[in-house]
């Protein structure tokens, strides 16, 4: 959350047209999976870990996005736990928070910002 201060490496994930409007896709990053969301309605992009911490399922990219009191969120398709796309906090119940990543779009390409501490980029 607040650790994205220093060094961020931008990873080119896909073309912006590859991501459905108001929906998500899963991005392969090394051996990790990142959920990337094109929140067209808000004109915003978000990224988070793909794994839902409730049952450790690789599923969040297949979830529905929406908002709660103005806060953008994603609902896991398995048991509808919802998480803030900004802070990653679980908005219902005591599930632990998910990791979120910064996103930028340039020239039709979507980049996900990986903080240095998260390990090396692919060669």
């Amino acid at each position: 959350m607040s650790t994205i201060t220093e060094n961020i490496t931008w990873f080119a994930a896909c073309r912006s047209a590859d991501v459905p409007q108001n929906g998500g896709v899963c991005v392969k990053y090394n051996n990790d999976q990142i959920a990337l969301f094109n929140f067209t309605r808000r004109g915003e992009w978000y990224a988070s870990q793909n794994m839902c911490p409730h049952r450790m399922q690789m599923a969040l990219s297949r979830g529905m996005i929406g908002s709660q009191d103005g806060e953008p969120k994603v609902a896991c398709p398995f048991h509808k736990r919802t998480f803030s796309l900004i802070t990653g906090a679980c908005l219902n119940g005591d599930e632990c928070a998910i990791k979120t990543y910064p996103v930028k779009v340039e020239d039709g390409l979507v980049y996900i910002g990986i903080p240095e501490a998260d390990g090396p980029l692919p060669a």
Binding site: D18, C26, G63, S67, G70, C96
Partner: protein
């Protein structure tokens, strides 16, 4: 402030969680935890589920990463060996020395092992940790005869474990004259005993163990009454012993029979050291249950975070499910004497026992016991705690559903005083819940949860919270509008009408025109379903794909592990050998698990997202269609073989079932709906359990509606008799369309009818007598849906754009999700158990 916590059990973990979530100055706290066990805190209460298939990871309360994510240092497998109170440091087994400002002892307890000669032999176990269970698992392979010492709560859990371990013959040995002597009376114990015996356990009470026999390992037990029992494996569960050894060595005050003495602030005799959970001795009492431990954790966390809170004992009323049997005791379960009387209800055939103790004047409830059926536990407990007035015939309290049980509960809620504790996990009173409604304007259960935290623990109180909310709002004269969610101030029925009149065909348009905000997982599928019910257009088009519930979006049900199931339609359950062969060869090719479903068709499980379009391509080529197992739509029309083969069959029920299934396939509704057609009154198709069911008579068909299986089964009710084919279908058209138009989201037909004023008579008037003058409109609306039907999988298979969405990685479309794992089972595969 430096906080050190010794013990990472259930209460130690809860304490961490409360600190993290409650403390305004979280960043100023440094938190270090020492745990003796090798894994982070897990759910000991459900320890027995380890044997019924849950792994250690399933039981974890939070993964190790939770601690690091929240900046908590966790040292596992590293017990603290001493406390230096003058320097305020603790010293660990691995040699760490850590300084504290505040020290928390959450060391729990260990099993009490009575000094019986021979307890050290191999094959004698205690039942406390996952390691204990792992050791048992190994040993149990060789054991045929098991025994458990102790017929209390933990002993019965242990006996269940013996069953789960596959030990054919197990005896529970209890010293007292009855089982669960602290919670249950003699009669209750008898019922419980018969229930255990039905499960294959033997029970011996009044037995005192004198010695454990055998050389190296246990071969039998010898009792003080000179009897013997051959035994290969024994679990001792004779009570608990608080782990106060560290505290004792550090010179803290401990009780004569063990336990670290604490005051109402959970402070030990050293004001910088607190003790919580099963190691703490409060007011002469050790609490062997988790809820009081959580309350203690809350008390200390609140104090460290700057508020004032103290512990004033905890009610020991409990409700448990032991070996599948409900057991509850509340208030004073045993009280007896001339000032009191007890009312007892016993049904030994069903295994139900209920006892309530009341004052001789019949005015107050003091306590009681429930076995086999503990549904009334909450209300009875509230009645004791709040000294509520009893009904004129107190036996009504336990004889229950003589009339509407809901009405009874509602009356109960409003009669509770403001101090009544509604949520015992978070200690929230009725007053606080009602205040959240009146003062803070909370008008949904979610809002109340957020505002008060009530209902966020075990969730058992949520029905009561909802009742209280509705009751409070009604008493404020508020019209309770049944709005969809925060994005639409409309009910489903209002939305339905508006979408139709305004001819809206995409979720975004509906949100722009009728709602506000960005939508959510409640309104998106509800609106999508309404649009499908009105227009029946391909659901993945017009940007509506991402507004579908995930299963609809991928046209398949997501399963444990992230794969999907494939269910082709098999109308009426009739299938040719050739088609069976196709299903078999597709399943083989894509390595799918196959099973005959409860709906007379075949489910293929374990398909990777990437494989779905190819699988369906092959099925469609062979003439199959989507079975809509993923949609809130028609599922199956079950049929019996009927007059084609059956010697009793009156009409051809299979042909009629196929006709019905093909007519309504793909029709989307507020919830799924099912049907059945039986060829005679013997009802082999179970039509009366369906949303609409058809049964052959001498003269035609009887039509039944609004039946339901599921958790609250309900028989369908007769709508019309002796119909010919056409009339029958016309009535079904009207019935279904009326349901689709007026039901709330996710409401099955049975629940819909239950809420309908006038019930089945009103419905019959609408459908059969056309009392609302809607019949023609309803029939036309259904005909539109029928005419617009097309198989949505066929469209995907023919449309490369739509197919694109069926890949797991956007940047590696050909790769499958590598995290998917399977396990073998009986020559097929199943999903690996989840964490």
């Amino acid at each position: 402030m430096k906080i050190v916590i010794i013990g990472n059990g259930m209460v130690g973990y809860k304490f961490c969680e409360k600190l993290v979530s409650k403390c305004p100055d979280r960043d100023l706290l440094s938190i270090v935890v020492f745990g003796e066990e090798i894994r982070p805190a897990y759910d000991r209460v459900h320890l027995s589920e380890f044997f019924s298939g849950k792994g250690a990871a399933d039981l974890a309360l939070a993964p190790a990463s939770w601690y690091s994510d929240n900046n908590i240092q966790l040292h596992l497998s590293d017990p603290v060996t001493s406390i230096d109170r003058s320097n305020k440091t603790v010293h660990s087994h691995k040699g760490l020395t850590v300084a504290y400002d505040v020290l928390i002892l959450a060391t729990g307890s260990s099993a009490f092992v009575p000094p019986i000669p021979g307890v050290e032999k191999e094959g004698v176990f205690i039942y406390r940790t996952i390691e204990d269970l792992e050791m048992m698992q190994d040993y149990a392979k060789r054991a045929k005869k098991g025994a458990v010492i102790g017929g209390g709560l933990l002993g019965l859990e242990a006996a269940k474990a013996m069953i789960d371990l596959g030990i054919p013959d197990t005896v529970v040995i209890e010293f007292a004259p009855r089982l669960m002597p602290r919670q249950v009376d003699d009669a209750g114990s008898r019922i419980l005993k018969s229930k255990l015996e039905a499960l294959g356990l033997r029970v011996q009470t009044n037995k005192n163990t004198a010695a454990i026999l055998g050389d190296e390992y246990i071969t039998g037990m010898q009792f003080t009454d000179e009897t013997h029992l051959p035994v290969d494996m024994l679990i001792i569960s004779a009570g608990i012993k608080p782990r106060d050894e560290l505290a004792r060595a550090a010179g803290l005050e401990v009780g004569a029979r063990g336990g670290i003495v604490v005051n109402d602030h959970m402070q030990t005799s050293d004001p910088n050291i607190f003790a919580i959970g099963e190691c703490a001795l409060h007011n002469g009492m050790i609490y062997g249950l988790v809820a009081p431990g959580y309350e203690m954790a809350e008390v200390v966390a609140a104090q460290l975070c700057g508020s004032v809170k103290s512990f004033h004992g905890f009610d020991m009323s409990t409700k448990l499910k032991l070996i599948g049997v409900d057991v509850a005791s509340f208030g004073d379960p045993f009280i007896a004497g001339s000032e009191f009387r007890s009312v007892v209800f016993e049904d030994s055939c069903k295994g139900i026992y209920k006892r309530i103790n009341i004052t001789a004047d019949g005015k107050q409830l003091l306590g009681g016991i429930l076995i086999g059926d503990a549904a009334d536990y909450n209300m009875l407990l509230q009645t004791v705690k709040n000294k509520l007035a009893l009904p004129p015939n107190p036996e009504d309290l336990i004889l229950g559903a003589r009339g509407s049980s809901e009405g009874h509960e509602n009356a109960g809620v409003s009669s509770l005083p403001d101090e009544a504790l509604i949520c015992s996990c978070e200690s929230i009173t009725k007053g606080q819940v009602c205040n959240a409604v009146t003062a803070s304007g909370c008008e949904t259960v979610d809002a109340i949860k957020k505002c008060t935290k009530a209902g966020t623990g075990c969730g058992g109180c949520i029905p009561m919270i909802k009742d209280l909310m509705v009751h409070t709002m009604k008493s404020q004269g508020k019209y309770i509008r049944n709005v969809l969610c925060e994005h639409f101030d409309l009910s489903r029925q209002e939305l339905y009408d508006l979408i139709k009149v305004k001819e809206l065909k995409s979720y975004d348009l509906v949100l722009n025109e009728l709602g506000h905000g960005d939508g959510c997982e409640i309104c998106k599928p509800a609106v999508s379903s309404i649009m499908a019910s009105i227009w029946n257009e391909m659901i993945l088009k017009k940007g509506n794909d991402t507004a579908q519930d995930s299963n609809d979006r991928y046209l398949a049900n997501i399963q444990k592990g992230g794969t999907y199931s494939v269910v082709p339609r098999i109308p009426g359950g009739e299938i040719t050998p050739d088609k069976l062969i196709v299903i078999g060869s597709v399943a083989k090719k894509y390595n799918l698990y196959t099973k005959i479903t409860g709906g007379q068709r075949i489910d293929l499980f374990g398909a990777h997202l990437n494989d779905l379009p190819n699988i369906w391509k092959e099925l469609i080529e062979a003439g199959f269609e989507s079975g809509h197992a993923y949609g809130k739509a028609l599922r199956t029309v079950k049929s019996c073989v009927g007059s084609t083969w059956c010697r009793f069959g009156l009409h051809d029920s299979v042909s009629f079932a196929i006709k019905i299934e093909e007519r309504y396939r793909g029709v989307r509704a507020p919830h799924k709906f099912k049907s059945g057609v039986s060829g005679c009154i013997r009802e082999c198709a179970e039509a009366q359990a369906k949303d609409f069911g058809i049964m052959a008579t001498e003269k035609g068909w009887n039509l039944y509606v609004c039946g339901n299986g599921g958790s609250k089964p309900q028989h369908a009710q007769l709508l019309a008799t002796d119909l010919d084919d056409e009339t029958c279908i016309r009535y079904i058209d009207r019935f279904l369309m009326f349901y689709i138009k007026t039901a709330d989201p996710l409401t099955r037909t049975a629940a819909w009818l239950n809420k309908m004023e006038g019930g089945i008579d009103y419905l019959r008037n609408v459908v059969v007598n056309d009392s609302l003058g809607l019949a023609a409109e309803l029939e036309a609306a259904m005909q539109l849906l029928v005419d617009n039907y097309s198989c949505e999988w066929k469209e995907v298979v023919e449309n490369p754009e739509l197919q694109k969405r069926f890949s797991h990685f956007v940047n590696a479309p050909e790769e499958k999700d590598p995290s998917v794992k399977f396990e073998p089972l009986r020559e097929q595969k199943i999903a690996a158990n989840w964490k």
